[in-house]
């Protein structure tokens, strides 16, 4: 049978999984919104969370779409569409495809037409990251139980521990920005972008506190993020990156 990585069947399969994930998201959204009302969270606060998150999500979602485009040159559209909409991220899927392609001795520069190569890659992608879905139900209660114990013993330390956990994550990403500075001025671009984003967030913070612009809270993170991305697009050609 002729194999086409953009066949209707593959689109249908990927589409079915994606509809499922949207259903799951809607289920939890409605459920938590209702529970929020029951425990007395104002509806306005929850709506603000939705608006702010939706706006914040646009830029990262476009960046994921770029990942889909990158992979689609080799794998057709349905598989990258599925993998990057559900559980995956380009940082996982590209190495998974590359690893299988190099094991098979083929190049990633043209579209796959051999069904066995295609299914091999699909299996490596699936088997490569499915354990994340098993770890959650296996460990979630233990992790939360441990946290409750710590908080029960000393609630102040419990709060500090959570804060330290966030800061550990943020530190790893802030440190990563410094990885390329030895390659000259172009290596500094990520740092300039980081500082510009921080500056925009600082300005938003001042406006919110000093000028009482409370509505800005909802948009502060998307503004600093998109502002810094535009800044990157402006300074990169100037610096010669």
């Amino acid at each position: 049978m002729n194999f086409n990585p953009n066949s209707n069947l593959l689109f249908l399969l990927a589409g079915a999984v994606i509809v499922f994930v949207i259903a799951q998201s809607v289920f939890f959204l409605v459920r938590s919104y209702r529970h929020g009302k029951e425990i007395g969270i104002e509806a306005a606060k929850m709506r603000k969370t939705m608006i702010s998150t939706a706006i914040f999500t646009i830029a990262p979602a476009l960046s994921i779409l770029l990942g889909v485009i990158t992979l689609s040159k080799f794998l057709g559209l349905p598989l990258p569409w599925l993998r990057l909409s559900v559980i995956g991220a380009i940082t996982y899927e590209l190495p998974a495809a590359t690893s299988t392609a190099s094991a098979l001795g083929i190049s990633l520069s043209e579209t796959v037409t051999n069904p066995e190569v295609y299914t091999a890659i699909a299996w490596v992608m699936t088997l490569g990251i499915f354990p994340g879905l098993i770890w959650v139900p296996l460990f979630i209660k233990k992790i939360q139980g441990g946290l409750m114990k710590i908080k029960g013993k000393d609630s102040k330390w419990g709060d500090i521990l959570m804060t330290a956990l966030f800061l550990g994550m943020i530190s790893a990403f802030l440190g990563m920005v410094f990885a390329d500075i030895r390659s000259g001025l172009t290596g500094w671009i990520p740092i300039f972008v980081l500082l510009f984003s921080a500056l925009l967030m600082g300005i938003c913070g001042i406006l919110i506190k000093k000028c009482n612009m409370k509505w800005l809270e909802t948009y502060a993170l998307p503004i600093s993020m998109m502002g810094a991305m535009i800044f990157a697009a402006v300074i990169t050609p100037l610096i010669g990156g």
């Binding site: 999984v17 289920f27 990057l84 991220a89 094991a103 299914t119 098993i134 992790i143 990403f173 990563m176």
Partner: protein, 218 residues
């Protein structure tokens, strides 16, 4: 007796995550059956060996690190929808910060779930629209003018996020931040494995915080 909201979150979470697992496996299985093209172990195993040891470990680390931040329902959802570090976790943290609720509290659980669910829906819809409009969109998204903006999405995100958290907790930030900056300056090639370094940063931050807490500095 009626089960509590929290207990039911685990029940629903498990049902959805197991179904998701089935759906994700259905793609390669149905493709293999329909095209009669089972690849066999020979090409799959070497490909898998190249990525699985790292991914399985990172997956476990992500669960340990992100579950406390996200809460119950949003963990069950976020691990299915993916893109945790660059999207779902920052979205949940920012939402809880803006709503002035604590992660791990009942309100935190609600706000975090609303954020992760909204973010998942918006992402999925944008990607689906993008796939439908791929032909007119590709030259715009792929253009050299726009490329630097997307290349720098992580510093653009974490710069803003850092201001909020580091300025509030600068004492706890000093140790992990100094360590990470020095580490990446000395070993730049590590930037590919930043996922593995997240728990390292977390352990350093927790160690430093414990030390300062015991000394009465926090």
């Amino acid at each position: 007796m009626k089960k509590s909201y929290e207990e039911m979150s685990h029940v629903y979470g498990r049902i959805w995550i197991l179904c998701a697992l089935g759906m994700i496996f259905a793609y390669p299985i149905v493709t293999c059956i329909y095209y009669g093209a089972w690849p066999g172990w020979k090409p799959v195993l070497p490909g898998l060996l190249g990525v699985a040891p790292i991914y399985w470990t990172v997956g476990l680390i992500e669960v340990l690190t992100f579950v406390p931040m996200l809460g119950t329902s949003s963990s069950y959802l976020a691990f299915v929808t993916g893109n945790l570090t660059s999207l779902k976790v920052p979205a949940a943290l920012n939402a809880m910060e803006n709503a002035k609720v604590k992660p791990g509290s009942e309100e935190g659980e609600v706000i975090s779930t609303i954020a992760v669910a909204t973010s998942s829906i918006v992402t999925t819809v944008i990607i689906a629209l993008g796939v439908a409009l791929l032909v007119p969109l590709t030259p715009i998204l792929d253009s050299p003018v726009v490329k630097p903006a997307f290349d720098n999405i992580l510093p653009a995100l974490f710069g803003g996020l850092a201001v909020v958290y580091v300025s509030k907790n600068w004492k706890i930030s000093i140790a992990p931040l100094t360590f990470m900056i020095l580490l990446f300056l000395l070993v730049p090639s590590l930037s590919g494995s930043v996922g593995v370094l997240v728990p390292v940063g977390a352990l350093i931050a927790i160690g430093a915080a414990r030390f300062m807490y015991n000394k009465g500095m926090l």
